[in-house]
């Protein structure tokens, strides 16, 4: 299977700070790849580099072979990468429908029915101000907005942050469902257990460097991962 997104030896400096160092991550077509790590190790910075919010100081980001690391954020979206970013970044004083339509860009309402089928909760609230919805609903809107453009690669930065355990399960199911529809997903998660359950491969970042990588099932049984992120004991893999 060919790779849709390849991040090669990426590094990022902001001022004198080394944020990312020699990061390489590969996302195959229809793959789910997760990036794990504690707070402040550079996961969001990596996602921002891919979306063109930050510009990497070294290395390249190949989308189907084309280097997109120097492109602007809107050019990257046009090439087919959408992100549900950290902090959600929804348009809080616009309606849910307007949020979705903005996410769709030139596609308009084409994908609306599809997204509403994934998130029936949003359908009841199309005319509501996005900022007045609950945190979980805003997270759904954030992911739904990213899907409106039918991206080739979907980036999810901590989609389960602040959600009830039941909703974490919902998000996991959703990610698997999205993959089955043909999307590739790059996932950043703190909920390591859930992330490893649905991913094909995973990388663990510490201080801006990848320290462990491999098949998700192997990582789930890796004592180093277990100790640092799973509360010290190896858990069963699903």
């Amino acid at each position: 299977m060919s790779n849709i997104l390849e991040i090669k030896n990426l590094s990022l400096k902001i001022g004198i700070q080394d944020i990312l160092h020699d990061i390489s991550v590969t996302v195959p077509e229809q793959g789910i790849v997760s990036v794990l790590g504690a707070n402040g190790v550079g996961k969001t910075s990596l996602m921002r580099c891919i979306s063109g919010i930050y510009h990497a100081t070294g290395g390249e980001i190949l989308l189907q072979g084309e280097d997109i690391s120097k492109l602007k954020s809107h050019e990257i979206v046009e090439r087919g990468i959408m992100q549900a970013p950290e902090g959600r970044q929804i348009f809080s004083n616009m309606t849910v429908l307007e949020n979705l339509v903005i996410g769709a860009g030139p596609l308009g309402r084409q994908e609306l029915d599809h997204v509403l089928a994934l998130f029936p909760r949003l359908e009841e609230r199309l005319k509501q101000q996005a900022g007045s919805m609950s945190g979980g609903e805003q997270q759904m809107l954030c992911i739904g907005r990213a899907l409106m453009r039918k991206p080739k690669v979907l980036l999810l930065d901590e989609p389960s942050l602040g959600l009830a355990p039941r909703l974490v399960g919902f998000i996991c199911e959703l990610v698997s469902k999205i993959r089955a529809e043909g999307y590739a997903v790059l996932l950043v998660e703190q909920n390591v257990k859930a992330a490893l359950r649905i991913s094909d491969t995973a990388s663990v970042i510490e201080h801006g460097k990848i320290v462990i990588e491999g098949d998700a099932s192997a990582l789930a049984n890796d004592p180093r991962v277990a100790e640092a992120y799973l509360g010290g004991h190896v858990h069963e893999t699903a």
Partner: protein, 304 residues
């Protein structure tokens, strides 16, 4: 029955308010997308008036064409202004620097500098005195309605402003570019994640806002027959007050506040000397800042 004098003042006040509204929209839209105050907005107004004047003296086109030329000159001025005084300070695109305080302070100075340069340049070219405007173009022909007398300019200003406000409302609510402007105002970083070209959206916002400001300039120039390089200063301040009263980035708020301001100024002349009417705006500004720091219409309004 209202005193005819009061009615007459109300008519004048409405025209004044509409002019302030046209000006305030530019301030408000630009504040929305960048969180900055454009101190060169008053000069854009003056540029509109001079562009119209030059067209009149060059080839005497119909009034409607004069208005379009002012609009176009304003659009061009807005485009240049953004490129020269705002764009250079927007080098990073993350949330921390997009609407940052550092950028606000830098562009405050750069737009002030541009306004001084533009005003001085116009004084060098045209001199600082009033320009003579071809009398045929003045929109001060009296119209008698019962006991009161208004001028045709009152009707023209009302008509033109309503068309512009209606057009703007349609643009912001229904068109893709309007949706982009509102998206950038609401959450600039979110707009980037949605594939909106924020730089282009900001330029378009300057173009629209400046075109409206320039239109206000030529309308006032022809209403009073007074076109001079520093004419933008006072209306600039009034529009700024209307923006603050309206809650900084609410277009409907700014328009309503501008009309309230115009009416109040005009009525104030019935009980105090007219040279003092400028005080009304300053009083409103102070009262708003003290009692309604979120603007008269509160913080929950729909912005832009």
């Amino acid at each position: 029955m209202l005193d005819p004098y009061i009615l007459q003042q109300l008519a004048i006040g409405l025209s004044l308010g509409m002019i302030y509204a046209l000006m305030a929209i530019g301030f408000t839209l630009i504040f929305g997308v960048l969180n900055v105050v454009n101190f060169a907005h008053g000069e854009v107004y003056t540029i509109g008036a001079f562009a119209g004047l030059m067209a009149i003296s060059a080839f005497g086109p119909p009034l409607l064409v004069v208005l379009f030329i002012a609009l176009a000159a304003g659009a061009l001025a807005g485009f240049g202004l953004e490129r020269l005084a705002f764009r250079p300070f927007r080098r990073f695109s993350d949330e921390a620097s997009l609407k940052s305080r550092a950028m606000r302070e830098a562009t405050l100075m750069s737009s002030l500098a541009m306004s001084i340069i533009a005003r001085e340049a116009m004084e060098m070219i045209f001199g600082s005195q009033f320009q003579t405007v071809d009398l045929a173009y003045l929109i001060n022909k009296p119209i008698h309605i019962g006991p009161i007398t208004i001028v045709n300019g009152d009707l023209i200003i009302l008509g033109v402003t309503l068309v512009m406000l209606g057009g703007l409302q349609w643009l912001l609510k229904k068109s893709p570019i309007g949706l982009s402007i509102r998206a950038v105002s609401n959450n600039a970083l979110g707009a980037k994640y949605c594939g909106i070209n924020t730089d282009r959206t900001i330029i378009i916002t300057f173009v629209i806002g400046s075109a409206m400001g320039a239109l206000a300039g030529i309308l006032v120039g022809l209403y009073y027959g007074a076109i001079f390089p520093s004419m933008g200063f006072t209306p600039g301040i009034k529009a700024f007050v209307a923006m603050v009263m309206g809650g900084l980035s609410s277009v409907p708020g700014a328009v309503i506040s501008a009309i309230i301001l115009g009416l109040s100024e005009s009525l104030s002349t019935s009980f105090m000397p007219s040279v003092w009417s400028d005080m009304v705006a300053y009083a409103f500004l102070l009262l708003t800042l003290i009692f309604f720091p979120q603007g008269l219409f509160g913080a929950r309004r729909e912005r832009v």
